[in-house]
C-alpha cells in the first residue's frame, strides 16, 4: 500500500465518488493488463464481475498492513463477487499479486463494509459481467 502512515495520507477524495485520478505508474506500465495512466476508482464503484488492481487505500499504516496481510495489498488483483446496494457490503475475491501468472494463485474471499470499500482505490481491469444487488 502506498499510504502506510497517517502523515503521508493525501487529501481524501469524496467518499463513494469515482476518482478520475491517473495512476502514475511505478509498476513498469503493464500490470495484469492495466495501462499506465489508467484512472483510479474506489473499489465500491466496480460492478460485480469486474476486476481491478489495488493502488492505494486511505487508511492508517497499521490498518493498511492488516489489509495487506489479508491479501488486499498494493498491486493485488481483486474481482468483485458481490456488491450489496444501498450502502451494503461488498465481497471481493483476492486473486494474488503481479507475481501470479494469469492470477493463478488461488483466491480467498474478503467481505468489506462499504465505508472501507470506498477507501480502497483500484485501476479497472476488464468489464463487469454479472448482476449484483443494486450495484
Amino acid at each position: 500500500m502506498t499510504m502506510t502512515n497517517a502523515t503521508t495520507i493525501q487529501p481524501p477524495a469524496p467518499l463513494g465518488a469515482a476518482q478520475a485520478r491517473p495512476h502514475s505508474g511505478g509498476d513498469g506500465g503493464e500490470v495484469g493488463g492495466t495501462r499506465a495512466g489508467a484512472a483510479e476508482v474506489s473499489l465500491s464503484a466496480l460492478r460485480v464481475g469486474e476486476s481491478g488492481v489495488i493502488r492505494r487505500a486511505e487508511v492508517s499504516g497499521d490498518d493498511a498492513a492488516l489489509l495487506g496481510a489479508m491479501g488486499l495489498a498494493e498491486r493485488s488483483r481483486v474481482r468483485v463477487c458481490l456488491s450489496v446496494g444501498g450502502g451494503g457490503a461488498c465481497i471481493v475475491a483476492v486473486l494474488g499479486g503481479s507475481g501470479c501468472a494469469a492470477g493463478a494463485c488461488g483466491s480467498s474471499r474478503i467481505g468489506l463494509a462499504r465505508p472501507l470499500a470506498e477507501r480502497i482505490f483500484v485501476t479497472r481491469q476488464g468489464e463487469g459481467v454479472g448482476p449484483g444487488w443494486g450495484s
Partner: protein, 741 residues
Amino acid sequence: MSPRQPHAEELAATVPAPAAGALGADGAAGLVPHDRVGDGASDPWGRRVRVALLGSPNTGKTTLFNRLTGLRHKTANFAGTTLEARSGWVALGGAPVRAAVERACGPGLARTIGAGLPESAGQGERCELIDLPGVYSLELERLESRLCRGVLAGETPWDEARSPGSGGPPEAVVVVLDSTNLARNLTLAGEALRRRLPMVVALNMHDLAVRSGLKIDACGLSERLGCPVVVTCARSGRGLDDLRAAVALVAGRGLVPTRSAPGGAGAGAAGALRQWAEGVYAEVAGGAGGGDDGASGSDRIDRVLTHPVAGGAVFVLVMGLMFMAVFRLAEYPMGWIEWVFAGVGGAVEAAAPEGLIRELLSGGVVGAIGATVVFLPQICMVVFLISLLEDTGYLARAALLMDRVLRPFGLPGHAFVPLLSAHACALPAITAARTIADRRQRVATILAAPFMTCSARIPVYVLLTGLLFPGRPVEGAAAFMGCYALGIVAGVVSALVARRTVLRGAALPMAVELPSYKVPSLGVALMTAMDRGVGFVRGAGTWILGICVVLWWLGAFPRVGPPEVALALRREAAQVRAAGVADGEVRGAGLEAQAGRLEASHARSGSYLGRMGRVFEPVFEPVGYDWRLTVGVLASFAAREVFVGTMAVIVTGEESDEVDEGLRARLSAARRDDGGELFTARASWSLLVFYVLAMQCLPTLVMTAREAGGVGWAVAQLVWMTSLAYAGALVAYHVSGWLGA
C-alpha cells in the same frame, strides 16, 4: 507504538544460512541443527519440550489443536492480556519416523535427515503444545501479532502463572497453512522461517484443496522451505501421526530450516515477501483449483445470504432457532441441575447436625455451587451453536449483513452474536465478544450486552405485568415486548455513548475473510463447548460462588427471635392438638405453617439485608419503593431472579420462585406500613423500568471485569446501568402518575 521485536535476520546472523538452492556438504540442501540444543545428539526429553502452533484464522489451527491434545488441555490467559492461551499435552512418536520423513520431505531433505535416523523418535514422550492466536502476519502491530512474536522470541511466557519452564522460545513451531489459500498463507510461513526455529509445516484442509481440483506438491514445498511439510486434514485426523513424528524429530534434534524468506521492515519488505510467496506457490501448486473460478457455488450462496431481504430472513430464522435452542433446550439440563442440587441440599440437611454448619452447607455452599453450575447449560449451548455456525462459514456472512445495522452505534457486525446471546444470558454473551478483534468495539459490546432482556428478568416481568394488567393478557404482552425493546435501545445507545466518550477512536470498518462453506464438525463444537464450560467454572465460577455465599450470609444473619404473634400461633397449635378434636392435627399443622411463614418473614426483615432495606429506603422513596421493595431491589443486585423469591418471603413468609396466581394475589393484597398498597401501579411501572435497565447480576460483573480487562470496566458498567435505571424508574414513576395510574 511499542518497539519492534528484533527481526529474524538479527537472530539468523548467528546461524549462517546458505543462499536458496545451495547445497550442504553432503550434496543436498539440509536442515541445520539449532545450536540451542547443543550438538543435536543429546536427548532433550529430560526437560519440558514446548511446541508453538502458529497459523492464520480459518486455517483449521484450533481443530488441529483439539485433535492433537484431545481433552488434555487447559486455558489460561497470556500474561498481562485477555488473550487466551490454550496449552495441552501431545503424545509424540506417531508414525514410524523413516516413513514419515519420506512422506513429509523432498528427496534432498529426506536424504539429509535420513542419515542416522532412528526407527522411532519420541515414542512414549510428549510435548506441550501452545495454541497461539490466529494472525495474518507476525509483523503487524496488533496485540495478537506482538504476542506471537514475543512467544516465538522467548520473551513472552504463555503461562499467566509463569510456571517453571515457560520462559525461552519454544523448541519447535508448527505452522498451519490453508491448502485452499496457500499463496497468501505462505507469507506467514516465510515470516516463521525468518525466526530460525525448528519448524514443521502442516498443510491443512488438504481434502478441500483436492476436491477443488488443486494439486500441491508437498515434497516440492518442503524442499523450497527447507523443512518437513506434512499433509493434514484436522477434521478427519489424516496426517496427524506423521505430524507427531515430524515434530518429535525436529524438536528432538533441533533441526532449523536453512531456507529463509525475504525480510525487513516496511511496505517494501512486505511486498518482497508476497512476491516470494507467490513464486513458491507457482512452483508447487497447480490444477483446476489454482485460479479463481468466476461465479462459484460460494458466490451463489453468498448472493442469498447477504441479500438485504432474503439474507435478513435467513438471519432471523437462524438466530431465532439458535435463541430458541438456548432458551428452551437449556431449560432441561438447568432443571436437572436444580433438582440435583435441591436433593443434595436436602441430603446435607438430613445428615448434618442442626446448627450453623448445616445452614452454611445446605443454604450457603450447596446453594451457591448450584447457582453457579446452573449457568453451564446455557453457556455451553451458546458456545456449541456459535462454534457450529462459525464452522459452516455462515457466521462471517451474517456479521457482514449485520454490520450495516450496528455500525451507526459504533459496533461491528460481529457484535450481533453476543447481543443475541445476551437475551438468554449475559455470561456466554460476554464470552462470545472475544470474536471482536478491535478492543474498543469489544468492550462496547460487553457494556451493551447486559441491557438485553435475559431469562433471569422474565419472572420479574411476568410478576409486574401481571400486577399491572390483571386479566388483560394483550396489554400485558405489549408491556412485555416493550421491555425487550427498551433493553435493546438502551444497550445500543449505551454502546454509542461509550464509543463517543471513553472508547472513542476510529476502528477499521469491517473486513472479514469469508471461509469456505463446509459441513460443521460436531466433535470440534462439543470440545469447544466443554472447554469453555470448564473455563467458566474455574474462572468466574469461583468468584460467583464466593459472592453467593456472602449474600446467603447477609440474608441469614443476624439471628432474630420469632415474633410474639408466631409464638402465640405455635401455642395455639399445641393446644389444638392436645384437645384431641377430630381435625386437630390438620388445624394444628395449618397454625404451625402460618407461624413458620411469619417467622421467615420476620427473620428476613431482621437480617442484615432487611436492615439495609430500611437504611436505603429514603434513596428509593422518590421512585416509589418502601423498605420491602427496597430489600427486593437490593437483593436483586446479586441476581435479579431472586426478586420474586425475596418478595415472596418478605410479604408471605413462603419461599417461592414461581409466579403463580396465588403468589400474585397475595402480593397484590400486600400493604405498606402506612396501610397503602405495596405494589401500586406507579411503583410497578417504576420497578419494571428499573429491572429492564439495572445491572443486577454480580456474575456478569465478574465476567465483565475478566473480559474487558479490569475491575474498572465492571465498576463503570455498574454505575452507568444503575444510574440509568434509577433515572428511568423516576421518569416512569412520575409519568405514570401524570397519566393517572
